[in-house]
Symmetry: C2
Subunit: 422 residues, 2 copies
C-alpha cells in the first residue's frame, strides 16, 4: 500500500516552521511497513491544496494530510477535501456538543470559532482527538483512504498511533519494510562510501544509503519481505559486512544515540557522570538528560560561561588560565577534574572553546574537549568550520563520542585510531 | 517568479532526517520576495525523481533541488535531471582537477568515488562550493532555471546566498513579499484567533495566519507589493491593530526570540543572568548561550540533577527538601537564590520538576519555575501534558517568559494578567 503525505501551512513554505510532522509520519509509516514515495508541502491556499490532494489520490492508495483542521480562519483543509472529492461540507451537532463539553470541563466558555471543527466532508467520520479539540477526519473516496489530522505534533502522533496506522496496516495486508541504521563516527561520508563500495555494489534488497548528520555518518539498510523474519535475514549479512569493515567506528544502531551509549557505559561500570561546559552552554547536559532514566547516573553540570565561574565553581587556577588561555587543553583538563570533584562524579566531560562569532584569543571554531575518568583525564583540540550553532552541535556530539572512547579505554588503548577526534 | 523546491533523500521519507533544508530555502525565498507554492520530498529513486522534476517544471519558473549530489552511489540527482530534461551526462576534467587539488590541500588522497561530483548535465554550469566538494549545478532548460544543491545545510546555505538567490532575484524583477510575525505568549491559539477575528476579516493583503509553536502563538502578516516601502505600509496598520488587541501578551516580532528579549532586558538593566536547572538539564542555559553575545551577560548555570547537587552547589537546605519535596516552590526559590549567590548573578532562573516518565513524589509533568531578581524571588507551579521532550521544551520556553515578566516587574505589578503562567 502506497501512502502519500501532504503537510498544509504557509508557515512551512515560508520556513517559519520546520516540517517535523513529515519526519514523524514517515518514520511511523516505515515502521508499519507501508510504502511512502512522496511528501508534499502546500500553503493555506484552497486551489493549490485541491490540486495537491488530487495529484496524491492519482498516485497513492492512501493520503495523510496534516494541518489546516484547527479553529482559525486560515484552517481550510476540510473545505479543500470537499472540493477535491466533490462533496458537501456538513456540520455535526454531536461533535459540537462534545466540543462544548470539552471547554466546560475546563471551566471556560467555548469561543464560537471552535464550531468550525465540527464541520466535515459528507461521508467522512470524525475521530476523537484525545489531546485537543480538532478532530481527525477519515474519508473513503473511490476506494482510497483520506485522513486529515491536526498539525500539532503531540495530537498528530496519538491520532496516527490510535487510528491511522492500524487502519492502514489492516488495509494493506502487505509485507514489511525493515530499516536498520548503522551509526558511525570518525570518518567522512565519502571515505565511508569507499570502504563499503563493494558491499554497496551487492546491495538491492536491502538497499543501502549513506547519511551525514551532525558529524556522524549513518549507513541505512532497507529490506522488503513478506515477514519481519525474512526481512531480518536479508539485512543480517549486510549488517555483518558493514560492521566488519567499519570496526570500532560503529557506535550503535537505529535509535541508539551516543548519549544512550554513554549512559549505558556509565551504568555498566557503576559510574556517575557530570559535565563542565563553556561554549556548549549546557548542550551536553541537555542531550544526556533527554534520555529517560538519566537521573540514575547523571549528577549534574556546571556551565562556566564566565571565566570567574571556571575559577569559583570548578577551581580552575588563575595561573593556568593566564599561562594557556581559557581555550586550552590544560584548562579543559582542569575543568573536567574540577567538575568530577565539585559534583562528586566518576566521569566528567568538559568543553571550552569559542563558538563564534565573538573571538577570544583563539579563532572562532576552536574547541577543546576533555574527559575525566577514574583512570585518567585526557583532552583534544579541534577546529570546526561553520556558524555558532553548527560548531556547538558538532562539539556536543564530539564530546559525547570522546566520552565513549574514554570510558571504554579505546582512547589510550593503542587500538587502531582512524577517527577525526582521536 | 514562482520557485519550487524538491528535497531528495529516502532518509527524509523514512523520517530519519528532518527536512530543515526546506525551511531554510523557504525563508530565504520569502525574504527575497520570490513566490513558493509547493515543496516536495522524493526518495533516492530515479523514476520518481524524474516525475517530480517534470511536474515542478510544469508549474514553476525555477526549481531548487537539494540532496543527491554527493559522492556516494545513492546520489543520483545529476542523472535524474538528465533524464527529466533529456540531456547527456558529461564529465568535467577541470572540476575533477579542482577536486584533486581540494583533497591534496588537506594532505589526503581523493577517494575515486568523488569523481562522480565532476559529472554534470549537458548545458549546465558547475558552481564552486566554498564549504565542500559537491559543486552546485545550474541549468537553463526551456526558459526555466534548475539548481541542484548539496543537502548539507551549511553548504546549501552559502550556495543559496552566493549563487541561487541573486540569480533568481535578477531574473524575477518582481515586487517583494514582506512577512511580519508578531509573537505572543500566554493564550491559546483559538482565543487569540477570536480576539483578532475582525482584524482577520479585514485581511487579504496582508494575509493573516496563526501558528502555535512550543507554547507560543505567532500571528503572521504577509503582504505583496512592488516595493519594500509599500509592503511595509500595508502591514503597518494590521500590526498596530494586533498589538493593540493583544497588549502585553506580545513579546517580540519576527526572529526576536524570548531568549533574545531576556538578554536584552539584562543588558539594559546591567544585570547578569544565571540558571539553576533540574528537569530541564541545561536547556534554559543552552537556549540563552545560543545567542551570540550572551557572554556579556550570562554567568553560567548549575544543572543540579541529583538532589546532592542541589544541596552542595546551590545550598538548598535539607529541611526544605524534606518538608516540601524536591518539586516544590520553596525548593525552586532556594535554587534560584542559591544560583544567584553561587554564580554571582543578579537574575537567576530555576527549574525543578518531573519531566517523566520516571515519577518522584509528584506526577510527571509537574514543573516549578522560580525567578530571582534584585527586587524579589517568585515561583509558579504548572502541570504540563505530553512526553518528556515536550514537557522539557515547554518548560524551557515558559521559564524564559517568566524571567521576562520578572525582569520587567509585570509579574507583580498588578497589570492585567491573562496568561497561563502568571
Amino acid at each position: 500500500m502506497i501512502v502519500e503525505v501532504i503537510a498544509v501551512g504557509t508557515e512551512l513554505l515560508l520556513g517559519q516552521t520546520v516540517n517535523t510532522n513529515a519526519a514523524q509520519i514517515g518514520s511511523r509509516l516505515a515502521d508499519a511497513g507501508l510504502e511512502h514515495q512522496y511528501s508534499t508541502v502546500v500553503g493555506d491556499d484552497h486551489d493549490r491544496m485541491v490540486a495537491a490532494i488530487r495529484l496524491a489520490l492519482s498516485r497513492a492508495d492512501a493520503l495523510v494530510i496534516t494541518g489546516g483542521v484547527g479553529p482559525t480562519q486560515d484552517d481550510i483543509t476540510r473545505e479543500a477535501i470537499c472540493s477535491a472529492t466533490q462533496r458537501e461540507l456538513l456540520f455535526s451537532e454531536e461533535y459540537a456538543d462534545r466540543l462544548r463539553r470539552w471547554w466546560a470541563a475546563r471551566g471556560r466558555e467555548m469561543p464560537d470559532s471552535n464550531l468550525k471543527q465540527a464541520q466535515y466532508p459528507a461521508g467522512a467520520d470524525l475521530l476523537d482527538n484525545p489531546k485537543g479539540t480538532a478532530p481527525a477526519i477519515q474519508l473513503e473516496h473511490e476506494g482510497k483512504l483520506i485522513f486529515a489530522l491536526p498539525g500539532v505534533p503531540a495530537e498528530l502522533e496519538i491520532l496516527l498511533d490510535q487510528h491511522v496506522l492500524p487502519v492502514l496496516q489492516d488495509r494493506s495486508g502487505e509485507g514489511v519494510v525493515l530499516s536498520r541504521v548503522i551509526r558511525t563516527y570518525g570518518q567522512s561520508e565519502s571515505l565511508v562510501a569507499e570502504i563499503l563500495a563493494d558491499v554497496f555494489e551487492r546491495s538491492g534488497n536491502p538497499s543501502m544509503a549513506f547519511l551525514a548528520s551532525s558529524g556522524e555518518i549513518k549507513i541505512r539498510l532497507t529490506a522488503h519481505a513478506p515477514t519481519e523474519e525474512e526481512a531480518e535475514a536479508l539485512v543480517a549479512p549486510f549488517e555483518a559486512a558493514v560492521r566488519e569493515r567499519m570496526g570500532s567506528l560503529v557506535f550503535g544502531i537505529d535509535d541508539e544515540t551516543i548519549e544512550n551509549i554513554v549512559l549505558g557505559l556509565a551504568r555498566n561500570n557503576e559510574w556517575t557522570v557530570a559535565t563542565a561546559e563553556s561554549a556548549t552552554g549546557g548542550m551536553v547536559a541537555s542531550r544526556i538528560t533527554a534520555v529517560p532514566g538519566a537521573s540514575k547516573v547523571f549528577r549534574g553540570a556546571i556551565v562556566a560561561y564566565h571565566e570567574d565561574v571556571k575559577r569559583m565553581s570548578l577551581g580552575v587556577a588563575d595561573a593556568l588560565i593566564e599561562e594557556h588561555g581559557v581555550v586550552s587543553e590544560p584548562v579543559a583538563i582542569a575543568m573536567a577534574d574540577g567538575a568530577a570533584r565539585a559534583l562528586e562524579a566518576d566521569v566528567a566531560i568538559a568543553v571550552t572553546g569559542s563558538a563564534g562569532p565573538e573571538t577570544l584569543e583563539q579563532a572562532a571554531g576552536t574547541m577543546v574537549i576533555a574527559v575525566h575518568t577514574p583512570e585518567r583525564t585526557m583532552a583534544r583540540t579541534v577546529r570546526l568550520p561553520g556558524d555558532r550553532e553548527r560548531v556547538r552541535t558538532y562539539t556536543t556530539t564530539g564530546a559525547l563520542h570522546l566520552a565513549r572512547l574514554a570510558m571504554t579505554g579505546e582512547w589510550w588503548s593503542g587500538k587502531p585510531r582512524s577517527g577525526r577526534w582521536v
